[in-house]
């Protein structure tokens, strides 16, 4: 039955076409605005940039005073590996980073949620955040020493402060953007306040929070250098500072490359998390 109908339909369609002027396909308008995963574009881009740079350095187009060749930086990196210092530096930095970032994010999300949820917190805390965020941590280094000492405390605190504020802002921005209809729905079903926050507001703010994580993680890495200005013997930041102090550009670039790699690794992790947690988006 349904087959007959289909056949009938098709016949009519053919007729129509034959009878009148030539038919043309409906143009496809729905494309774009989605993301295909392309092949290894990123590695190609990186390799191309590095190759260009190397060529520039070799031919003298890039002065060695302005920028050492990547191969030299690679040499410095090789030295690091050979002396076994790489793991010491990376290990020390990772420890400070993960501790500072985790604490800063945790506190930041909490305060951000409070600002997003309570009018009083918003009125009282938001201006405080706006006033404290722009305070440069480097300028306060002397005070940090007095407040937190010269041990791991001041290093973790530097990173903590650096990640705390952007996380607060990203989180409350995300909370503000949660669909109010969904919250009303939760209330109508008598969900507890905590359930609404946990099951509706936090997932709804998650895209913004994760986007904030990308920013705060990068800031945390940037602040490694500031953090390791004080009494650090190991750590990528200390290594970079040392290299800078000696104007050893190859080491400087090697250290910066380490930070970049760290940044890439964290971005990749956040990307994975996004794909896992935000799979519900188109």
């Amino acid at each position: 039955m349904s087959h007959e109908a289909a056949a009938e339909g098709r016949e009519r369609a053919e007729e129509d076409v034959a009878a009148r002027e030539a038919a043309r396909p409906v143009p496809f308008r729905g494309g774009g605005f989605t993301h295909r995963r392309l092949g290894p574009v990123a590695p190609i881009v990186f390799l191309a940039i590095i190759a260009l740079w190397e060529v520039g350095s070799r031919t003298g187009a890039i002065s060695p005073v302005a920028l050492p060749a990547p191969s030299e930086a690679l040499g410095a990196l090789a030295d690091l590996v050979a002396t076994g210092m790489l793991w010491k530096h990376v290990g020390a930095s990772l420890y400070r980073l993960s501790l500072g970032w985790a604490l800063g994010s945790l506190l930041g999300i909490s305060v951000g949620l409070m600002i997003g949820l309570f009018s009083l917190a918003r009125a009282g805390l938001l201006p405080l955040v706006s006033a404290l965020f722009p305070i440069p941590k480097i300028a306060l280094l002397p005070l940090f020493i007095i407040w937190f000492g010269i041990g791991e405390g001041s290093k973790v605190a530097t990173i903590l402060f650096g990640t705390f504020f952007p996380t607060v802002i990203a989180t409350y921005g995300g909370v503000d953007n949660v669909d109010r209809n969904l919250i009303r729905m939760g209330q109508s079903f008598g969900l507890s306040w905590l359930s609404i926050v946990r099951k509706i507001i936090i997932p709804g703010a998650m895209p913004a929070i994760l986007s904030g994580f990308r920013i705060s993680a990068s800031i945390a890495i940037v602040l490694l250098v500031a953090a390791e200005m004080i009494g650090a013997e190991t750590g990528i930041g200390a290594y970079i500072l040392m290299a800078g102090a000696l104007f050893a550009l190859d080491q400087l670039i090697a250290g910066v490359a380490l930070l970049s790699t760290l940044g890439l690794a964290i971005a990749w992790l956040i990307g994975r998390t996004e794909r896992a947690l935000l799979a519900w988006r188109a």
Binding site: N181, L182, R184, M185, G186, Q187, S188, F189, G190, L191, S192, S195, K199, I200, P203, G204, M206, L278, W280, R281, A282
Partner: protein, 256 residues
């Protein structure tokens, strides 16, 4: 349980939306609300459900909810309000999780309401993978899951084909037969209204006032067999609304 609305008035900014609405939904009664688009039906229902505070008047409930009712006053939203990050089953589960039901029992409830709304195959689908009608059915399944004592339904069947609508309406009637919940049912389908309503509250154009209340003293079970009488009632409601529209038109032409 009974729901009593007394002298409800409400305004949004400058526009008067509801004016002095009073009626009651008796124990185990279904009251249908009909009225032109934008007259304030959804607003009235939100007020009745305690989701919005009216500018004047009060909403009361009386009686006790039957055993096992997790959320006595339950809402079915016109725009579905599904969490886009939860699957169909997860959206239903959401409203059960706060009640300390053990996981197995919860799963059983979910399976039951999903099969009743013909969604069993889609329990793991996300809202964006659903058709409009399927979303509406999820919203209904979610409401059924909490065994409400009073249901506030905002056009719950509007996105469904007649076939599915018929099925779900039968399901609703059967459920009502068993559980005798009370309901406030907003619809723009007069056939639905006369099929389900013990009373039909006809609202006027904005600002929504009660234009008339039509009583239908016929047991729900008998209604499928007495379609001719219902048809007459339906036509009567239709006449009232038509008259209202004519009056409104007159008003408009008076002004312009």
């Amino acid at each position: 349980m009974q729901l009593i609305l007394r002298g409800i008035s409400h305004r949004y900014g400058g526009t008067n939306v509801l004016e002095d609405i009073s009626f009651a939904v008796g124990d185990g009664e279904i009251v249908c609300i009909v009225g032109p688009s934008g007259c304030g039906k959804s607003t009235l229902l939100r007020i009745a459900g305690g989701l919005e505070r009216p500018d004047a008047g009060e909403v009361l409930v009386a009686g006790t909810a039957p055993d096992g009712s997790l959320n006595p006053l339950t809402y079915i939203f016109q725009d579905f309000a599904l969490l886009p990050w939860r699957t169909v089953a997860g959206n239903v589960s959401l409203v059960l999780e706060d009640h300390g039901i053990e996981a197995k029992k919860r799963r059983a409830i979910i399976d039951d309401v999903l099969s009743r709304t013909n969604l069993s195959d889609f329990s793991h689908a996300l809202p964006r993978q659903l058709s409009g009608g399927m979303k509406q059915r999820v919203a209904i399944a979610r409401a059924l899951a909490v065994k409400p004592a009073i249901m506030l339904m905002d056009e719950p069947l509007s996105a469904l084909d007649s076939q599915t609508r018929e099925l779900l309406m039968d399901d609703l009637v059967a459920l009502w037969q068993r559980e005798r919940f009370s309901a406030c049912y907003v619809t723009h389908n007069l056939a639905e209204a006369v099929r389900l309503g013990r009373r039909i509250v006809v609202l006027s154009r904005r600002p929504g006032r009660i234009r008339e209340v039509v009583e239908i003293d016929m047991p729900l079970t008998e209604r499928p067999g007495r379609l001719v009488e219902l048809e007459k009632l339906q036509r009567r409601v239709w006449e009232i609304m038509r008259e209202e529209a004519r009056e409104a038109d007159r008003e408009i032409s008076d002004v312009t």
